[in-house]
C-alpha cells in the first residue's frame, strides 16, 4: 500500500468577488503535500457537498469573506450528514467574529482560522485531526 495522500477541497462559497485568499491556502496545502481540489468562486453548499463526495476528500476547507458563515458552514455539515458522508474534517477560514466561533464549532466545524493565522497552523491541524 502506498502512502495515503490527504485530499482537501478548498471551497469558496458566497458571492463576494475575489479568491486570492483561497488560492494562497490552496498553494500552501499543495506545498504541504496535500492533493487540493479547487473549484473556483461562488459555490453553493449543495455544490460543495457534491464535490466533497465525488472527490472523497478528507477535509473540506471553506473560505469565506462575506457574513454568511453563520448559515453556510452549518449547511455544508448538515448536507454531508444527510448524504452519509460525515466522516470529513470541516474547517473554516475568513473574517469571522470571535463571538460566532463557538456556535460554528457546536454545528460541527472542527476549527476556524481567522486572518493573519500562518498557513502552517491549519496544515498542522489537518495532519493531527484527519481521519485515519
Amino acid at each position: 500500500m502506498t502512502e495515503r495522500k490527504i485530499r482537501v477541497l478548498v471551497a469558496k462559497p458566497g458571492l463576494d468577488g475575489h479568491d486570492r485568499g483561497a488560492k494562497v491556502i490552496a498553494r500552501a496545502f499543495r506545498d504541504a503535500g496535500f492533493e487540493v481540489i479547487y473549484t473556483g468562486l461562488r459555490q453553493t453548499p449543495e455544490q460543495i457537498v457534491a464535490v466533497s463526495i465525488q472527490e472523497d476528500v478528507d477535509v473540506v476547507a471553506i473560505s469565506l469573506l462575506s457574513g454568511a458563515h453563520g448559515t453556510l458552514m452549518p449547511k455544508v455539515v448538515n448536507l454531508l450528514r444527510e448524504k452519509g458522508a460525515d466522516d470529513k474534517l470541516i474547517i473554516g477560514g475568513g473574517v469571522i467574529p470571535d463571538d460566532d466561533i463557538p456556535a460554528l464549532k457546536e454545528a460541527g466545524i472542527a476549527e476556524i482560522f481567522t486572518p493573519g493565522t500562518p498557513t502552517s497552523v491549519p496544515i498542522e491541524f489537518i495532519k493531527a485531526n484527519v481521519r485515519q
Binding site: K5, R7, R27, R30, D31, E35, E46, Q54, K83
Partner: protein, 312 residues
C-alpha cells in the same frame, strides 16, 4: 451493505471511497475490483488530450452536457500533474465543470499523476473499471498533455480527441510529431482567435502524410468551447468513431491491446518488487558480488539462479 454491491447500484459515496482505496493501492480495493470485473466492459472511453491551457476542461464540460442531452450518463476522470518536490497537487479542472456537480448522471473525479510520467496516474485504469461497473455509459479522461506524454491515453481510451489551439508557435511542431498517430478526432479550440484556419490546414497536411491510416480518416473540427460552438459536431464525430470501431472490429483489438499493456505493467511491477525484496535481503547481494569477484562463481550462473528463485 458491502462496498461492491453499493458501487453496482451507483451509490456515489461508495464509488468515491473505492476509487480512493484504488489510488492508495489498498489491498481491499483489489478484492472489490475482482468482484466488479464481470460488470465492466460496457462503458465507452473517450480520451481528451492536448497542451496545457488549450481548453480541455472547458471542452470536456461541454461534451458532457451534450452527451447528457442525448440521454447518456457520463463519468469524468481529470488528471493533473503532481508537484515533483512535495508530491502535492492542485487539481483545478473542476473549475470549468461547476454546473455538472449537481447532475446525478455525471460523476467527476480529479486525480493527480502521483509521479507517473505518461499523462495518467497508475490508478486511472482501476478508476475506469469502477466507473464502468457503476454503470456510466461514457467515461471521459482528461489527461495532462505535454508533448510526448500523451502516449498513455491512446493505450487507454477507445476514442482519443486531440485538442490544439492557434498561437502555439513552434511548440506545435514538437507536439504534432507525437500526436498525429494518436488522434481519432482533432479539435482546434479557441477558433475565435486568429490563426485557427492555419492550424486546421497544417493538421490536415500532417494527416495526409500519415501513411498507416486505416478506414477512419480523423476529422478536424473547429470549436469555441467557452461559447459552446462546434460541440455538437465533436460529439457527432465521437459517436461516429464509436460506431466505426464497433463495426470494424477495431474496438476489440484496441481493448485487447489495453488489457495487454495493463497486465504487462502490473506483472513487471510485481516482479520488480519481488526482485527488490530479494536483493535487499541482508548480505545476499554483497555475498554474490564477492563470489563473482573472487571467481568462485560466474555472473551468468548468478543471474539465472536469482531469476529462477524468484519465478518459481
Amino acid at each position: 451493505m458491502d462496498l461492491v454491491q453499493l458501487v453496482k447500484e451507483g451509490n456515489r459515496v461508495a464509488i468515491a471511497r473505492l476509487i480512493t482505496r484504488a489510488e492508495n493501492e489498498d489491498p481491499e480495493a483489489i478484492v472489490a475490483l475482482r468482484q466488479l470485473y464481470s460488470e465492466t466492459g460496457k462503458a465507452f472511453l473517450i480520451g481528451i488530450t492536448g497542451p496545457p491551457g488549450s481548453g480541455k476542461s472547458t471542452l470536456t464540460d461541454k461534451v458532457v452536457k451534450e452527451l447528457r442531452k442525448r440521454g447518456k450518463t457520463v463519468g469524468v476522470i481529470a488528471v493533473d500533474p503532481s508537484s515533483p518536490f512535495t508530491g502535492g497537487a492542485i487539481l483545478g479542472d473542476r473549475i470549468r465543470m461547476s454546473d455538472l456537480a449537481l447532475d446525478d448522471g455525471v460523476f467527476i473525479r480529479s486525480m493527480s499523476t502521483r509521479g507517473s510520467l505518461g499523462g495518467l496516474s497508475k490508478a486511472t485504469y482501476n478508476t475506469i473499471q469502477i466507473l464502468d461497473a457503476a454503470g456510466f455509459e461514457y467515461i471521459l479522461i482528461e489527461t495532462v498533455g505535454v508533448g510526448q506524454s500523451e502516449v498513455d491515453i491512446i493505450k487507454t481510451a477507445d476514442t482519443t480527441v486531440v485538442v490544439s489551439v492557434p498561437g502555439l508557435g513552434d511548440d506545435i511542431q514538437a507536439i504534432k510529431a507525437g500526436i498525429m498517430e494518436i488522434g481519432d478526432v482533432f479539435v482546434v479550440n479557441k477558433a475565435d482567435r486568429e490563426g485557427a484556419e492555419r492550424v486546421v490546414i497544417e493538421l490536415a497536411q500532417m494527416l495526409e502524410l500519415n501513411a498507416n491510416m486505416g478506414d477512419w480518416f480523423p476529422p478536424i473540427l473547429k470549436t469555441v468551447a467557452v461559447r459552446n460552438e462546434g460541440i455538437v459536431d465533436v460529439v457527432d464525430k465521437i459517436i461516429e468513431h464509436q460506431a466505426y470501431l464497433t463495426s470494424s472490429g477495431e474496438l476489440c483489438i484496441r481493448r485487447k491491446e489495453r488489457i495487454s499493456n495493463e497486465l504487462i505493467n502490473n506483472i513487471l511491477n510485481k516482479v520488480s518488487a519481488k526482485i527488490t525484496d530479494k536483493l535487499s535481503e541482508e548480505n545476499f547481494w554483497d555475498s554474490q558480488l564477492d563470489e563473482i569477484i573472487e571467481n568462485k562463481r560466474n555472473p551468468y550462473d548468478v543471474i539465472d539462479r536469482i531469476i529462477n528463485g524468484i519465478l518459481q
